[in-house]
Amino acid sequence: MAAASFTAAKFLAPVAARSGGERAPPLPAGASSSSFARTLRRGGAHHPRLRTAFAVSSDLLAGNKAAQAAATHPAVTREEALELYEDMVLGRVFEDMCAQMYYRGKMFGFVHLYNGQEAVSTGFIKLLNQADCVVSTYRDHVHALSKGVPARSVMAELFGKATGCCRGQGGSMHMFSAPHNLLGGFAFIGEGIPVATGAAFAAKYRHEVLKESSPDGLDVTMAFFGDGTCNNGQFFECLNMAQLWKLPIVFVVENNLWAIGMSHLRATSDPEIWKKGPSFGMPGVHVDGMDVLKVREVAKEAIERARRGEGPTLVECETYRFRGHSLADPDELRKPDEKTHYAARDPITALKKYIIEQNLATESELKSIEKKIDDVVEEAVEFADASPHPPRSQLLENVFADPKGFGIGPDGTYRCEDPKFTQGTAQV
């Protein structure tokens, strides 16, 4: 049902009526009936050189009457809606289980939960193919799940078991999966963005130099990161390079307003992150990140642009984390009414309401999905519990892809040829 081109008319609404979009700017006059692409070519209303910064907001879930009349049929099919619902519930239940397991002493270290932000992960990642790549930050469990990494692999990794997706060597902040093209899991903010840019570069290279083309277009890379990262040099450097070479990448900002205890407004001179896209020549889009259908609409267009070789898009998702920065964060700085405001916009509750009101499924069908997910997550915990810890012999196995890198020992043979070597008992 998605329109062939990105139409503002479908989504336009006065600022006041937009659910929670107080900070999104009004659109320039004249842009309302133009398509996304046409607006870009015409140049911005504010500045002759600047491409129009495009703010988008879908009101399908807000119950805005005008928009609802325009949308005479649901924005998603029943199958799509149930897929989205299941994925978001999986993310929520999994993260809640992580909290439980952490407090029971099954996982350790820094664990950053995604509760509340599910619409962003589900809205973007469920549109991707297996060949498309996702790069995340330390708040990566749900990105991994949405990309298809089995819950048991993620849970086992969190428990530090050998059956984890990274053999227990990565942990919460370093989720990787080659079969699912999940390229990490990074602890330092911003350091994943160049990696994502490189994956997008490789996609373009495969197409142009290696002449490997897919009928779908270029493989796309999603880079997820937060509001704090948008003040970091690597963010800006990569916006520049991605646009310069028109790389097939979408930069997704999960703006949950807080970087640990630093409010976005206290850290950022111009807090409207989406506006920074046009400074580099790419579209900047703001979307209500608590609404999975709005996110999905924006994601579709951004992904299609990238596939067609038109280059990157910067998407700012207004979202919120219901828990603290990590399980160690006392979360004392955020005000109760801010938390209540966003709790009322829980993306899962909103989608559930939409599905029922649009008669896409019944309450009991949704309940059975929830039950199924409960079972999946329970099973993941059992699997992780029963899995073995990594043996000592695993210690040095993956330091080098080619273990000749450990060098030649005094006896003239490569150290890796000593069978005891990977245990670390032999001298490195």
């Binding site: 990490g184 490789a202 080619d402 490569y414």
Partner: protein, 397 residues
């Protein structure tokens, strides 16, 4: 120049006309066996076993000897041309090899290592990047994870300080933290070292800063022969390799073989066999050592000079064999004294060869000083041949 891509490669025992050492045949034999095992897909084999490594045992600093073992006459070139030749050969052989860096494309590289490559291979394969070291190095990592083999140039190695985040966390560690799922076959290269009055920031030696990063291999080239061989080996390696070149060595001239060859990344190079003292060095200091060696020979000493080439890991076999013969070690490096390569090497020698030492290990390093601009002060910062001579005389007392 002939790419020599299709020439048959022969397994070489002792290459060229190496001055015979009693240990040489056994060493060479063992090396061939190991290499053959790798070719068959033995432990650690990367599957690229079609090319066989030449033994690192080369004749002294006599360039003609290196080419004498080759079928045709060999050809003479400068170090930067040798690096370039290696790049061209590898890029012709494997379309996933690409170059990224500042001014590598249209400008041809600030030291001409990539001259003409953009015309040959296109702007995407020889990518002119904006000035954003951390990000384009990280981009190289991401591209490597997705199947490419990037060669990332730091215009000066010192600039890679800005890329430290990516080099440490991602190049070095990512293979491990992903549980071995992604490999990073990236080469990071560029000129470093103390030049001629380039000032402190352009005169840095990053090998000591990077050496602790787990998962990285580091090599330093010092002749056109080993520059080409190491560049090719680094590109073919599945590991991330940092290749240290030196600003003052790019115009060194040498005759190198016409046939294709690579150098082993993990091996040291015997420069001058001897009996009295083992001198371990690398990069530009090799030439200061050889200059000192002339004086030492006149004074009646017989130093054994080894260019360690592999800064990480150390070739403890070549080094160990030498120590077992001479019982005296002098390390001559351009790193600063504190935390340098020499410090690690000294430590490794003490751990492995303590019983063979007849004298404390001496280490000559650069002063712990930001390299001054003034010529007299700069000369005093690095190790000079006279100091090397004095050190050998002291050790051999």
């Amino acid at each position: 120049m002939a790419a020599a891509a299709s020439s048959a490669l022969h397994a070489v025992g002792a290459v060229a006309s190496a001055k015979p050492r009693s240990a040489a045949p056994a060493v060479a034999r063992r090396r061939s066996v190991r290499v053959a095992a790798a070719a068959k897909g033995g432990p650690g084999s990367s599957g690229r076993g079609r090319l066989v490594t030449r033994s690192a045992v080369a004749a002294k600093a006599d360039e003609a000897a290196a080419a004498a073992g080759s079928k045709s006459g060999g050809h003479e070139l400068l170090m930067f041309e040798a690096l370039r030749e290696a790049l061209i050969e590898e890029m012709n052989l494997d379309p996933t090899v690409c170059v990224m860096g500042e001014d590598v494309g249209h400008y041809g590289g600030s030291y001409k290592v990539t001259k003409g490559l953009a015309e040959m291979f296109g702007d995407l394969r020889v990518l002119d990047t904006p000035i954003a070291e951390n990000s384009f190095t990280g981009m190289g990592v991401g591209a490597a994870m997705k199947g490419l083999r990037p060669v990332v140039e730091g215009m000066n190695m010192g600039f890679l300080l800005l890329a430290y985040n990516q080099i440490s966390n991602n190049c070095g560690m990512l293979h491990y933290t992903s549980g071995g799922q992604f490999k990073i076959p990236i080469v990071i290269r560029g000129p470093g070292g103390v030049g001629r009055q380039l000032g402190a920031e352009h005169s840095q030696r990053l090998e000591s800063y990077f050496q602790s990063i787990p998962g990285l291999q580091m090599v330093a080239c010092s002749t056109p022969y080993n520059a080409k061989g190491l560049m090719k080996a680094a590109i073919r390696s599945e590991n991330p390799v940092v290749l240290f070149e030196h600003v003052l060595l790019y115009n060194l001239k040498e005759k190198i073989p016409d046939e294709e060859y690579i150098c082993c990344l993990e091996e040291a190079e015997m420069v001058r066999p001897g009996e009295h003292v083992t001198i371990l060095t690398y990069s530009r200091m090799r030439y200061h050592v050889m200059q000192a060696a002339k004086t030492l020979v006149n004074k009646g000493y017989d130093p054994e000079v080894i260019d360690i080439r592999s800064l990480k890991p150390f070739d403890l076999h070549t080094i160990g064999n030498s120590i077992k013969k001479t019982h005296r070690v002098l390390i001559v490096e351009e790193c600063m004294r504190t935390g340098g390569i020499g410090a690690s090497l000294r430590s490794a020698i003490i751990d492995n060869f303590w019983d063979y030492l007849d004298a404390p290990i001496m280490c000559l390093s650069s002063q712990d000083v930001p390299t001054p601009y003034a010529a007299t002060l700069e000369d005093a910062t690095v190790v000079q041949p006279a100091q090397i001579v004095a050190a050998v005389e002291q050790i051999c007392q």
